[in-house]
Symmetry: C2
Subunit: 103 residues, 2 copies
């Protein structure tokens, strides 16, 4: 399931930070590595994980590659979350009606 992979890609503190950083616009690998306290290759691995999940994409621009977020993946994840809580909302609504009927 693609959704699970997206959630997994977001389910790591480092990658979530990267996503937050990419939120404000594209950035290169070295840029994204700055301040992480880890090696460039470690960050690259995380970015590749995000790319495999469809959460990020990169485009080579001269000698650097610009990474950006893929909002479609975020949208997919959101739909899944909505689906999970929608039914709960329905159940809550049913409960509300049940309680109201009692009064």
């Amino acid at each position: 399931m693609a959704e699970a992979e997206i959630f997994a890609a977001l389910g790591d503190a480092t990658r979530l930070h990267l996503a937050q950083r990419l939120r404000d616009g594209p950035a290169s690998l070295v840029r994204l590595t700055e301040g992480t306290g880890m090696s460039r290759q470690a960050v690259a691995k995380h970015l590749n994980t995000m790319q495999a999940a469809g959460l990020a994409a990169c485009e080579r621009q001269g000698r650097e590659s610009l990474w950006r977020l893929q909002p479609e993946a975020l949208q997919l994840a959101r739909c899944q979350l909505d689906a999970l809580s929608a039914a709960w909302d329905v159940r809550l609504e049913a409960l509300r009606r049940h309680v109201e009927r009692k009064n």
Copy 2:
């Protein structure tokens, strides 16, 4: 970060299925194990992972324990997703205005 843990808890096909199953109401461990093709303990581990992330909770009811989803965690995850795509929407809006100004 708690959000990352929630995403990680959702970032596994088995656990996402469990969440979908719990969506329709509480269920016991054996119930949740049915049809998974894996052992009861494996499912228990997954549920414990979900519990640690705040995504699920269980309540002992006689000899069985009823598991349920914790909608607050879903809400938190949704907020995080919104925060990630909100800035993107803003950038898209800025782009739209920029294009319109050119015409």
